[in-house]
């Protein structure tokens, strides 16, 4: 088992290197000159050269890459062009905020999605199934930024129950949670719908198998049969949970923008508009690493649950 985990970790390295190359190349592929963006318009040629040298832009690309990679693995992601703060600090704060939001919205989506999916499967073809499936369809088809705006209109503007903007970092936990509520709901909608549908179809696949009949035939109580079905549907469900959690981290750009939630999506947004390439690189690199590790975790969990998946 641990050998398997170790091997998967080693296999993740080329993927991460690939991601780092793409991220590094961004500087040179991106339209516009990052140096020009930060220099005064009337800067002299010497001044521009000095800045280029300071950033290492005068060296050959492979050398630049290796130097950059060497810094990155020690946690040095450079300085923000716009704020002059170390990128790692910005990314760290943003990641913390995004993780909190991703965790809360994922938790909400997982619990509600799994419950809805199982309910629909065990009541297949009946009214409850149709209601649950209807909620799932609405969840996946409503754009989350639009849902976010609607939520703001209802709960912030009309009812004035919850704040619409920011993360209130100065306030206490309650204030933080109040700021989190609406973006959490907006972000939970899509994964909720996706998870409900995947869980429903996975559970139906299991329910159609003969061993469920055999379990009933030996007199097993409903709740024990239910446990069997859940355990059989779990590998498929965990895959989708992992992916959805990953999407929550990376896919919240619009929702974070709508709610001005200072997470990675918001930071990414900001970096794009300010042409802040080091920040952009840092955010993308950290997110990519997260995705790879998350996939790994999902695979490992699956082999723990389903003995049929070979562990070599």
């Amino acid at each position: 088992m641990w050998r398997y985990v170790g091997r998967r970790l080693v296999l993740a390295i080329p993927t991460l290197l690939g991601a780092s190359i793409i991220v590094f190349a961004m500087v040179h592929l991106a339209p516009g000159d990052p140096i020009a963006a930060v220099m005064p318009v009337d800067a002299s040629k010497e001044q521009v050269e000095a800045v280029k040298k300071a950033y290492g832009f005068d060296q050959p690309l492979p050398v630049q890459y290796l130097k950059w990679l060497g810094r990155v693995v020690t946690g040095d992601l450079g300085k923000s062009i716009a704020t002059r703060r170390a990128v790692i600090l910005d990314v760290r704060d943003a990641l913390a905020n995004s993780l909190v939001l991703a965790a809360s919205s994922s938790l909400m989506a997982f619990v509600a999605g799994i419950a809805l999916g199982l309910l629909a499967a065990f009541r297949q073809g009946r009214a409850l199934d149709k209601i649950a499936s209807g909620i799932a369809v609405i969840g996946v088809s409503v754009p989350h930024y639009w849902a976010g705006i609607i939520l703001i209109i209802i709960f912030s503007v009309q009812l004035n129950w919850l704040p619409a903007m920011g993360a209130a970092s100065d306030g206490g936990v309650v204030d933080y949670a109040r700021h989190m509520a609406l973006p959490t709901i907006a972000l939970a909608l899509i994964p909720l719908g996706v998870i409900a549908r995947v869980v429903r179809s996975a559970a139906l696949d299991v329910l159609a198998q003969e061993f469920v009949l055999a379990l009933r035939a030996k007199g097993l109580a409903h709740r024990r049969v239910f446990t069997h079905v859940v355990k059989n549907a779990a590998p498929q469900t965990i895959t989708v949970l992992g992916l959805q959690f990953g999407f929550q981290l990376g896919g919240s750009v619009l929702v974070e923008a709508v709610f001005s939630w200072p997470g990675t999506g918001y930071l990414l947004n900001l970096a794009i508009f300010q042409r802040d390439i080091p920040v952009l690189q840092g955010v993308i690199l950290v997110l990519a690493t997260f995705f790879v590790l998350l996939n790994l975790l999902v695979d490992v969990l699956q082999t723990f649950i389903d003995p049929r998946i070979a562990r070599h």
Binding site: F211, L213, A214, R216, K218, G219, L220, R224, N232
Partner: protein, 339 residues
Amino acid sequence: MSLLSVRDLSVEFATRDGAVRAVNAVSFELRPGQVLALLGESGSGKSVTLRSILGLHPPVRTRVGGEVLLKGRDVNRLDEQARQALRGGVVSMVFQEPMTALDPVYTIGRQIEETLVQHRGLDRAAARRRARELLDLVQVPSPERCLASYPHEISGGMRQRAMIAIALACEPELLLADEPTTALDVTVQAQILWLLRDLQRRLGLAVIFVTHDLGVAAEIADDAAVMYGGRIVEQAPVRELFRAPAHPYTEGLMLATVRRGQKGRALVPIPGAPPNLVALPPGCAFAPRCPHVKPPCLETLPPLHVVAPGHGSRCHLVPARFASSPALASSATGRGGLS
């Protein structure tokens, strides 16, 4: 008293194409320790009949009529909890394909133990001990390893032995075996068959053994019932059925089957196709394929004619073809089983 009494059982499934009449007015009795072979082509309603005995049908779009009396109690009138106590406790089932009938993500041990925990309320340690004994009972060579294995890790024969161990875990009085050897390798088939026969004798089990293999039926059963189009068309003690079949469908089945000591005889398949259960004809369902068909066969349902004591046949031609048989004087009609 009979252990099982099925009276006028009918099962209908509502489907997009119409009502599938899978089982129609089936009646039979089973004494403790009696072995009944249920014969017939696939699709004749054998499995549905067995599921009715367990009260296990899809909860929607299914209509069940008649009675299934297990030790005098109607399975269909019991609440779910009482039914759960019967299933596995009084009657259990062995399935055709042990690979699909076992949960792939639970070990064999867990699957035996949970049955014991459910019915006997044993703790884990006691359940484990009993599970081991059960694997000994079904002659699994290395029980400890089998207990720790997942279904895909052991052979088909071992899986079926494990399935039988689960079925026998709580000492049922009636075992429903739905083609338990069909999915296995030929050499393993015989082993499982001998095991079941041995267990039946040692434990005094009543067994309903579904098969479409007449040879198997002859080896294991006391009586045999032949199903066609959801009906029992002929029922008799097994020897009697082989010696003097009294339904053209039974005769056809015999001609279509290899039997011991008859090597070299040409096999004659029954021409035509099984009936459409959505649109069963008003007369005998076998009439369209019957070599002896007469006009009344297409119009009215044949009553149950008694050919000999304990031997009945639903064929209009019985009086004409077996006129010499004295038992015909008391020819019964309509519903009612033979016992």
